[in-house]
Amino acid sequence: MRLIISSEGPNPSDRVDPRFGRARYLIQYDSASESYVSIDNTEQAQAAQGAGVQCAQKVVESGAEALLTGHCGPKAFQVLVEANVKIYSGFEGTVLDAVDSWKNGNLEPLAAPDGIARH
């Protein structure tokens, strides 16, 4: 199974970026191979508007089944739900920590957007 984690840096030891659409990096984690791949999100992060929409589309294209992030705004939420990607929010530590708590289970997927839409 594949996850995407919003990250402040390219390494799994970097902190989870609290923003989803404007995260500097997206880190892809594959649970079968336990491997991490970093995706530079600078272009989306600097979009004048609609960063969340674009970023959500990118997550769907990656084939990820779940997203771990800080907050998820209403438009990105709509896109991810439509594509059956589960969203887990509220992460504050490192990407590694976030993946660990996902592995431990007991996480409730986000039922409604918890970020603010910005233009």
């Binding site: 004048a48 609609g50 929409v53 438009k75 896109v79 594509a83």
Partner: protein
């Protein structure tokens, strides 16, 4: 002559200058059209109580997806500069409030699956008040796309000898849209550091647009302020200094006119009208 009244900082007195200048010009026998381009919070009507001849919606094109024709190829989403389209493997989604109505998606769609529809930006109201033509734009609550609505206000103004446009504050796209085809820009400021700071931004914008301009210092005291020095340094003319009068503030708060609240303010505004007239105005 098309005059835009702009400021940078909000609350400096753009609307006071625009409304009172328009009335003085009308009373001097000019044909005048006042356009309130501050469509996010129009307020010139509060001083004029116009009789409206029409109120009409302003629509812009937006796409809707024909889900039967769409095969989710993603060309529309890849083209959209404003990220208003998300193309998923089994669904193409449109976010109307991000759309800038460029029409690109239905031009690039290879499957004719993007159907042009419309959304309302707000309304334009037009009528007359106190011997002048008056037009106001009013943005729909929740809407963020402003320039096309300002264009719609400007389209109602005609060949009046004086078209006076009350601009929104700031230096953003709506201000550029208001100013772009003006013959002259009146920059209203106040003698405070904040007023001067934002005057500098507005002056920079006006010069980049290549439009001649002059400054009106509102709430001025008798003593020259640092804003006066700034204008001298920048080589921009001071058109008028409107004296600070409590009576004017009280009148404005009640929807009254500055020129009727204080004779000295009326004289300054009349002088401003003559100065603008002498600057090569077609009369």
């Amino acid at each position: 002559m098309r005059i835009a009244v702009a400021s940078g900082k909000g609350g400096t007195g753009k609307t006071t200058v625009a409304v009172n200048l328009a009335l003085i010009a009308a009373r001097a026998g000019q044909t005048v059209h006042l356009g309130d381009c501050d469509v996010e919070e129009p307020n010139a009507h509060l001083f004029l109580n116009p009789d409206y001849d029409f109120v009409r919606p302003v629509m812009v094109p937006v796409p809707v997806v024909d889900h039967d024709a769409c095969n989710h190829c993603g060309e529309c989403a890849a083209f959209c500069e404003f990220n208003a389209i998300a193309c998923l493997p089994e669904k193409t989604m449109i976010f109307d409030d991000l759309c800038h109505s460029c029409s690109g998606c239905w031009l690039v769609c290879p499957h004719e699956a993007m159907i042009p529809s419309e959304r309302s930006l707000g309304t334009v109201s037009s009528g007359t008040a106190d011997g002048l033509a008056f037009t106001q734009g009013r943005l729909r609550v929740g809407e963020t796309l402003v320039p096309p609505l300002i264009q719609a206000v400007k389209e109602v103004t005609g060949d009046e000898s004086w078209v006076i446009l009350d601009a929104p504050p700031g230096t953003t796209c709506p201000v550029v849209e208001t100013l772009r085809d003006a013959d002259y820009v009146v920059l209203v400021t106040e003698p405070t550091p904040f007023g001067q700071h934002d005057l500098a931004l507005a002056l920079d914008l006006t010069r980049k647009l290549g439009i001649p301009c002059g400054v009106v210092i509102n709430r001025a005291s008798a003593v020259p302020s640092p804003v006066d020095d700034y204008c001298v340094r920048e080589g921009v003319g001071i058109l008028a200094r409107i004296p600070f009068r409590r009576e004017v503030a009280e009148a404005c708060a009640e929807g009254g006119l500055a020129i009727e609240a204080d004779p000295e303010v009326a004289a300054v505004m009349t002088e401003l009208f003559r100065t603008l007239q002498s600057l090569g105005v077609k009369t």
